[in-house]
């Protein structure tokens, strides 16, 4: 293994839960000292190392201490015991745009926030255009940021933070910002990061994100480190142990018994690369990648499409389509081929599942696991969700001549 970017050495963090908070001297005097509080260990003797260039995930349920750990790494919180050392410049994407001053313009805030994150004026001058373009707020850059929409605010915050060009990037569930187009840009930026050999630490309870993004994960439970390891093994065990049903960051959720899981669901192009944009009338393929940990007889794969507003547009499964394999035993893929995609422009979410032949036992269900955009294509129809592919014809006058 190469050098470590972050070393977490026997770290413990204790919080005080105040019964009655004294932020007044009177209260302190009357109680004869500091407020009464209970101690609570958010982290207990956690040790691990993050190698340089790793995409490291920290997973755990709510309250497992994963965000606390991230804040300790970011030096926002100071551990009560143990040491954390990191090499290289560190940038944390915790709450985007939190350093913005509402009365100042976007331009002034970029410089201000950039310098909080450790950029010099010269570096900011050089990156300014890139930052603004990335955020897509060119027209509004000289407006006070209080006039920004929340999306613009977050985009600009993200853009500054990611353009700091850190050696280590800490990300806390903020991948779900902005619209699909912006998310694509973010993912691209992360990929760029990866290629440059930078270290990324992600905290998430979205298992899909973890699987695709990380090459190593740490599993925290109630402040204790359960294990550090490869994501596929660890995530499967994590799901097996009943942490499998919860709402993830994207508002999707996942549940199931986990004998077989869907490791990815995506639209793919002719070369097999995942795409998030298709055109009305295009030929398209949805590929499901599964991992079966044991032999499963007659599994049924299902797919459903909903709009962002939750309108149920379409669904299909391999049982209804009479395409049921006798069994699956290891990993593999199955595809749903669409000769002409009859959805009109909009953004849609895919849900996917593996269930048993009776469709009552769920092995893995991923709600809203993939989001895609449909752009104008042919046929070009005016509105609604689906294209009927019809044509106007037979204009004739009924008046007798």
């Amino acid at each position: 293994m190469t050098d470590s970017a972050i070393v977490v050495d026997d770290v413990s963090k204790r919080f005080r839960l105040y019964h009655q908070r004294n932020q007044s001297i009177k209260a302190a005097l009357m109680r004869g000292g500091r407020a009464s509080y209970e101690e609570f260990w958010a982290l207990r003797d956690v040790s691990f190392e993050v190698p340089v260039g790793a995409r490291f995930g920290i997973m755990g349920t709510n309250g497992s201490g994963k965000s606390t750990l991230l804040k300790c790494i970011a030096k926002i919180l100071r551990p009560d015991a143990g040491r954390i050392s990191s090499t290289g410049k560190l940038s944390a994407l915790l709450e985007l745009g939190s350093g913005f001053h509402p009365e100042l313009s976007g331009r002034e805030n970029v410089y201000l926030n950039g310098s909080i994150l450790g950029l010099s004026k010269r570096q900011l001058d050089a990156r300014f255009d890139e930052i603004v373009e990335f955020a897509g707020v060119e027209q509004f850059i000289d407006q006070p940021v209080k006039n920004y929409s929340s999306g613009m605010y977050v985009r600009l915050g993200f853009s500054v933070a990611i353009n700091v060009d850190p050696d280590i990037l800490l990300v806390d569930e903020v991948l779900a910002v902005g619209d699909a187009a912006f998310q694509d840009k973010c993912m691209e930026k992360f990929a760029e990061f990866r290629r440059a050999g930078k270290t990324v630490v992600v905290v998430s309870h979205a298992m899909g994100t973890m699987r695709t993004l990380c090459d190593r994960v740490a599993w925290l439970e109630r402040g204790n480190l359960v294990e550090v390891g490869r994501p596929d093994e660890l995530i499967d065990r994590y799901i097996d142990e009943g942490h499998s049903s919860r709402v993830d960051a994207e508002g999707g959720s996942q549940w199931g018994s986990g004998e077989a899981v869907l490791s990815s669901v995506a639209f793919i192009d002719a070369t097999g690369q995942p795409i998030t944009k298709v055109r009305t009338g295009d030929e398209a393929t949805i590929r499901l990648t599964y991992d079966a940990h044991e032999r499963i007889d007659k599994p049924v794969f299902g797919l459903a499409i909903e709009t962002l507003e939750g309108v149920y547009v379409w669904a299909s499964n391999t049982r209804d389509a009479d395409y049921v394999p006798d069994c699956i035993e290891s990993s593999g893929t199955v595809e749903f081929h669409i000769p002409r995609l009859m959805l009109l422009p909009g953004t849609f979410d895919i849900s996917a599942s593996i269930v048993d032949y009776s469709t009552t036992h769920v092995y893995d269900f991923r709600r809203h696991c993939y989001r895609f955009d449909v752009d104008h294509g042919t046929p070009r129809e005016s509105g609604g969700l689906v294209s009927l592919g019809g044509e106007w014809q037979n204009l004739r006058s009924t008046e007798n001549t």
Binding site: F15, S24, I25, I76, S115, I116, L117
Partner: protein, 277 residues
Amino acid sequence: MTAVTQLRGSRELLSNLTMREVRGKYKRTALGQLWSLINPLAMMLIYTAVFGQVLKIQVPPGHPSGLKVFALWLICALLPWNFLNSAISGGMGALVGNANLIKKTYFPREVLVAATVFSWDITLLTEMGVLALVLVAFGGMPLPWLPLVVVFIALLTLFALGLGLALSVANVYFRDTQHFVGILMQLWFYATPIVYPITYVHDKAQHLKARGWDIHLEFIYRLNPMERFTAVFRNLMYDNRWPTLGDSLYCVGAAVISVAIGYWLFMRFEGRMAEEL
């Protein structure tokens, strides 16, 4: 020494935050930065009316400048005081006011307090510049003394910074610090010879001594570092002469001790700040 190197490392941040404070201060006001001149002018007029006209406080003429204008004599000490007052109350609130920033990002937190204090320096420097011109118009000659004025402004800044650092952490743990300090500042204002000359204290001490109360009133009184700063600024701006060595050294000492203790306290309590806010 680490404090200095760290502060140098975040110089860019410091100057940006300072400018944020300066720009944010009078944002969306029609008169903008002019307010920083109007405020002391209004205070000067009020105090001159009350103390100069109604109470008829007698001030010694400037020596060797020969100036004898109560309003000018007053404002030479009022401006540094206003700076101290604003810097302390601003610096004290800097952490609580930027709670969001502290909880979400890491950077040397003392920069927040320093930026607030320094933003008032900009105000003070402008005011002193304008005052110097006014003094010239009235026949004084403060211009050769301006470099020394800047030196003492720097000392006063360190003094205020130390207090600001200490009080800002205190304010995180006890929010009524700011109200308490508000009252103390009023007391401190009248305990410092700003609206009346130090000779009044001297006379009072003599008076008490004559009646058998030898309590070293003047000695105790002059322990107040702001008394020394006031004397020095008046010497330089109003009288146009060298401040006494004793006063100057006292100012240096007060600045160094204040900033050392303030910084030490700040560092001691900084660790748990993010969770206490």
